[in-house]
């Protein structure tokens, strides 16, 4: 490109080459929406329609519809058949509704994580204690660890009561993540998941500063 007719400093010299290259690559992405067809189009028309209906219903209810869409896309990527994908999306939708009915208006991320806890096998009644919202407390890590424990084989009742108790004792994200780390390493060493949880729970304080687990107050 020859800009010798222009009096100003050539544009390229004023910016690092890498940044210009990045800008050009990103500008090249501008018509990407036209280049990339919707991956959901790979579904057969009936399944696609059913999935879109569910996504729209979720949106209408104020539920995180992106979660349902992502489930469908995962199924497409794994080459699952249409019926299986619709069933998976439908199940997710039902659990999102249940989580919402149980917890009330919490943020989308917490709702997804709570739905995952239900998906893993916990009962709505086990989620109910988390409905009492405490200011500045964010339950995402608690739910993630909870779902993981059940998925790895800790009996649902035990996982639920352990997590709930910790939470009611005031445990923070670091505590839940620490618990997860130690239980996981025990399971990798061959320990039975339920037993691993029980032994680690005994060592885990609720509030970060206390040295022993205190009984939950009130309830």
């Amino acid at each position: 490109m020859n800009n010798s007719s222009r009096p100003s400093i050539p544009y390229r010299r004023r910016f690092p080459v890498a940044l210009v290259a990045a800008a050009l690559a990103l500008l090249g992405a501008l018509p990407a929406a036209a280049q990339d067809p919707d991956p959901l189009s790979r579904l057969d028309p009936n399944s696609k329609f059913a999935v879109e209906l569910l996504i729209d219903s979720a949106t209408t209810l104020g539920l995180p519809a992106d979660y349902l869409r992502s489930t469908a896309l995962q199924g497409v990527a794994l080459k699952a058949d249409g019926k299986r994908i619709v069933d998976a999306v439908h199940k997710k939708f039902t659990l999102l509704k249940t989580a919402y009915a149980t917890l009330g208006p919490v943020g989308g991320e917490e709702l997804k994580a709570a739905a995952s806890v239900l998906y893993a096998g916990a009962k709505p009644a086990q989620l109910a204690p988390f409905k009492t919202r405490q200011k500045d407390r964010y339950d995402l890590d608690a739910f993630v660890v909870w779902a993981d424990l059940i998925t790895r084989g800790v009996p649902s009742e035990e996982a639920s009561s352990a997590i709930t108790k910790l939470w009611q004792d005031g445990a923070n994200d670091a505590t839940f993540n620490g618990l997860w780390n130690s239980v996981q390493s025990d399971i990798l060493k061959g320990l039975n998941p339920g037993a691993a949880l029980q032994s680690r729970i005994r060592e885990t304080p609720g509030r970060p500063t206390s040295t022993k687990v205190t009984p939950p107050d009130g309830h």
């Binding site: 028309p45 329609f49 879109e52 209906l53 729209d56 219903s57 209408t60 209810l61 619709v86 439908h90």
Partner: protein
Amino acid sequence: MTLDRQGWVIAKDMSDDAADVQRVLAGDVDAYAALVDRYYDRCARFAVRMLGNRDDAEDALQTTFLRAYRALNRYQERDRFSAWLYRILVNQCRSVAARRSHRERIFVREEALLLNAPDRTPNWSGDDEEFVQRVLSELDPLLREAFLLKHIEEMSYEEMSALTGVGVSALKMRVKRACDRLRDRWERIKND
């Protein structure tokens, strides 16, 4: 007064609506009455056809016009006011429908749709508004919504897409599906 093909009063051009919006924002609240007058009847028709009864429709209309008023400062002149207003209206109708006491039955209906459950087929005398309302109510809500926007409100698919956030091809499928179900109902009536 300028009328469209269906006989609704329309703004002579966009600037009527935009001018009224500007007057309201400048402090002339009564200018909002002009906008309400211009769009109420048309919105009412959509709300009644969509929700199937007057009470719910009026609920949706009240909230729609109130929300539109509160959001007026976010209306931008390059949008058609009717499209902007309809986006609020469509969402309000969905909210009202979702809140209804027989909400679970609507979801069951969606599941029935997925499972292709058969439904009842009323007879039609030919001129009955109540009958048409009943027929429309038997359509799945999302199909009904697309059908009304396309064939009653006569919007283009692009407008519908911008309004609902749903893709054009999904909307076309819904409209077609709605028409298929209406036609199937006619076939069943004929054969009874």
